[in-house]
Structures are given as C-alpha cells and as structure tokens.
Symmetry: C2
Subunit: 332 residues, 2 copies
Amino acid sequence: MKALQITDNPKEKIKINEIPIPNASENEVLVRLTAAALNRRDQWIREDKYPNIKPYTTLGSDGCGIVEQVGSEADKDWIGKKVIINPNIGWGSNPKVQSPHYQILGMPTNGTFAEYVVVKTDRIHLKPEHLTDEQASALPLGGLTAYRAVFNYGEISEGDNVLISGVGGGVATLALQFALVAKANVYITSGDNDKIQQAIQIGAIAGANYKESNWNKDLLEKSKGFHLVIDSAGGKGFSDFIRMMKPAGRIIFYGATQGLPTTLDLYRAFYYQIKIQGSTMGNDQEFVDMVRLVDTNKILPIIDNVKPFSDIINAFDEIKSGKQFGKIVIKF
Amino acid sequence: MKALQITDNPKEKIKINEIPIPNASENEVLVRLTAAALNRRDQWIREDKYPNIKPYTTLGSDGCGIVEQVGSEADKDWIGKKVIINPNIGWGSNPKVQSPHYQILGMPTNGTFAEYVVVKTDRIHLKPEHLTDEQASALPLGGLTAYRAVFNYGEISEGDNVLISGVGGGVATLALQFALVAKANVYITSGDNDKIQQAIQIGAIAGANYKESNWNKDLLEKSKGFHLVIDSAGGKGFSDFIRMMKPAGRIIFYGATQGLPTTLDLYRAFYYQIKIQGSTMGNDQEFVDMVRLVDTNKILPIIDNVKPFSDIINAFDEIKSGKQFGKIVIKF
C-alpha cells in the first residue's frame, strides 16, 4: 500500500512509500481509509519541530474509513462499518490530563496518511450519518481539542461573548462552530480579512484583524467584553486578552504560535477572578461527547479543499502557508 | 467612642478620633468589638494605594464582638451573642465573582477599628467556641481568601503537593493551615528563614527562601513537583511556578506584591493543562463553609501579637514592615 512517511533524508523529509498492508492483531481493527485530514502537527513533524520523531513512521492523525479486518472474534460486527478514529493513544485514567505514555496517532505509531491503518478497536466510532467521509475525517483531532477548550475548560453558556483567535485553523474553526451551537455571541480574529468575512458568514458577529493596531479596542467596543477567549497564538496579544475579559472570564489556550507573552496583568486577573487555562487534545469521553454534539446538531466541519492522496505533499505546503479556512482533506 | 479613621491630613493619614456610637437600623446590628485584626489592605489604604478612599471612614475589615443592639425585632435573639463578622458587602448573586457594587467592610463603610460597628444582621456568625476573641478576629478576611483559593479554585485533594508563597502573611498562613487539614504535603517560601522554620513547626514539609537563587530548583527536587501553588507575590517567581507544576496543576494567585511576570511558558502550560487562576476574597457561602471548616477541625488562627487599641498605629507600622508571622490583633 502507499503511505506518506517521515524519512531520514533531510532533503525529502516526507515521501510516499510503498509498504505492506498491516494486519490487525488482538483487539485491533484494520481500517481502509476513505479520507484523511491534515493538522498543523503533521507539518511541524515535517519541520522537525516535534519531540521524538521516528523516521519511517506513517503520518496522519485524522481519518475516516471502512473496517476490513478484525483481530478479535468479538469485534466481527465492526466489519464493513464506516468509522472515524479517535487519535488519542494512552490518555490514561485521569480525565484531567493525559498520562506520561500518551501519544497521538501518526507519530510514533503509524497514522492515517496511508491506504490502511491498524488501530485498537476502542479507537473507532461510527461515522455520523449526516457527514460525508471527507467531513468526518476533518473532525477528530480538531474537534476533540475544540470541544475540551470550549465546553470543559471554557464552561461556555448561552449568551456568552466568546472570542476565538486565528479563525481558519482547524481547531479555531470547529471552536467557532461549537460556540455557535452553544448559542454564544462569537467574535473572531484573523490576520486575513477574507477569513474574517468567511467567519461572519458562518455566524460570527464581528471580527478584527490582529495585524491592525486597534484590533483589541475595536473588539472590546463591539462586544463590551468577553466571557471566554479561545487562543492558540499567545505572544503579545495574550496580555491584551486580560484587559478584554469580563469578570470571571476564562482564557483557554491550546498553543502559542506567536511565542510567549512579555507580561500578564495579574492585578486585573485576580480582582476579576479570571482563569487562564492551558489545554491540549481531550480525553476519550470528550471524544464521544464531541461526536455526539456534532451528530445531534448536524454540524458540518468546514473543508478548505480536498486533494487526492498523490497530491498530499502539496497539502502539507498549504498547511504551512496558513491560508486555508477549515481543513485540508485527502481523498483515497 | 474611639475609632481609627483615615483622615484628609497628608501628614497624619490615620488617627484615633472620638465619634458618636452608631445605631442599628432595620436589619442591622450594633456590635461592641472585643478584638479586631489588621490586613495589608488597611496599610495600603493608609498609603493611598487603594481606589475610592473616603476620608473619615473608620478602617478595619476583621472583627469579633458582642451584639448589643438590633434594629429589627426579628433579630433580638442575637443580643448578647459573641459573633464574628463577614467582611463582604454586596458580593451579589453570582458565586463566581463579586458584583460591581462589591465592597469590603472598612472602606468606604465604617469598619472594625472602633469600639462599636454597625453591620447588616446577615453579616454576623456565631464565634466558633474553641477560639478566643483574638483568634476569631484573625479569621474573616484572610480565612475567606485562603478558603476560596485552596478549596474552590485550588481543588485541593489529600496527598497533593502544595506550595504556598510568602508564608507569614495572614492569607498564606491560613492557607497553610487549611492545606494541612486537607492532608496535603505543604511546602512554603518566605524571604525570612525564621518564618520558614515556624511554618515547618506548624506542619510544612520544607521551605525555601525566595531571595536565594536556587529556591525553585531546591523545592522542585524536594517535592517532585506541585499540584497546587497559592501565590500573592507574582513577579519573576510567577514564571518559575509553571516549570514546577505537575500535569493538571493549579496556580492560584490573590495578589502581585512583587509586580508582574515578564514571561509565561505557555508551551509547558498548555501541554500539561495547567490552570492559572486569579482569586480575591470569596462568596458568602464560602464564608460559612470556611467557619465550619475552622470549627470542625479546631483550627487556631496564628497570631503574631496582640496590642491594645491605643497602640493601633504601631500595628499598622508592623504590617508595613512585613515581619509578622500570622495576624496582628487589636484588643479592646
């Protein structure tokens, strides 16, 4: 089968290789992929910006496909079922935080950028019927991360003013969709005015371009303050959030692509009882809850474009450029 | 009666004045104070480092006394009872955060540094029997702040490794006592080695002097990491806490006496799902719960020294020096 792998060749860091189709062992299933989606993580691994990279691992955390083989007789009813894959491996018993053995599918275990993938049976879930395979493949990693940030740590309530930074990214765009389902008033930021307009078409109230100096004042005036911020940028703008929060506001961050903040107004933060909460991925129960939320509310993950598997290296380049709005999906 | 008031004289910012004994109106009680305790807030008001200072207000947030008069017939059973006073005024209906009308007893309403004080009947609670009047007066503001930080936001559990910075301060010392009752492993910091020894005598496992360069490495080695930090210093040390946290750790801060941090390791904080939570005071239910905790566990608030009311200006000077371990109490 064909598989997109990380190599040990510095000039050609990722490459489609021909490798054997794996077999499902006990408590495992073999899934023939119909669609897979990219995450920034995949490109970071390509750029060597990720710990513990193991050459000749098949990348890819997000996938949808059909179960073709089971390793245990007890799992035989799964054969022929259309499934999505929970990319968590070894979260562990503490719902609050992943265990030291935690991994994400696609490094160091073989992932979804291949014609077939083997995963534990407890990682697969029936694809929600309202989704195409491409839409379903766009859901797992981004949906899980957004769900934990918005619902668990974010404690979102109807009528909350919510600010989601960097809309267009997979997690941010799903967070926008989840916040709308929760009947929040959603505001967004982007460095790209077209993305701001796209988010407004989806249901955001207003947005601001964080490259403009007044972005924070502008959003503060429009919103009268935020109950919840969902951020993955960090950097200088992170300090600005403190000023923009309502009392008992929550700032949830799942990344820091713009680096670290240079200050933090602890005075305002303690007086107004503001929570600043780090978040990454989500536990297995949250995965189940996220899929149910998407199913119940018929949420359609937003896809920027779909490419054939043969074109996957271009998909990586697009992820790097950051121009996409929603997910880039690979069709098999 | 005699009352310690803030003046409008820049040379003599606080002064004992002779003023009339107030009367209890409807839903109010007149309490004859037997003991009152100082908080840093009182000295900050003296130094003009507090918003909305109203001259000729009687200072003082913490007090214990005897109800001598009630403004409503329904409250007559309170007469003669020994009570402590909840210093919250107008917290409001949201348990998560104080309302915009929130005040603390002793500015801008008249407080406990007087022979008598009038408060709403719902602010008084029976003094726990195991406490002397001096010990009871040491409890309200510090106990409430410590309770919310340790139990509500801190989510303390038996066996947690807890770091309390700046031990000796009223809130920090009560937080130490509360954390011990919760069966946590408590570590402390101070700028004073004598205070570290005093905290160890009370039950802390170990401490470090934050004026020494290795304080953080030292505590990290001894503890193997913290589940919970309770801080009111902020400053450079605040950034160090991030490195010292266990996964899913909580950093709760109720002040920033050392100023603002200059960076914050968001990368570690999001990967390990760390919470950084601002906290101030606590709601009225937490006050009730705090008094019950003290009563049930026969906690004795730590008193540095007791002074007669005539010596209260020296008590302010002592608070400023920061040399005390536990509360400075005024006896009437």
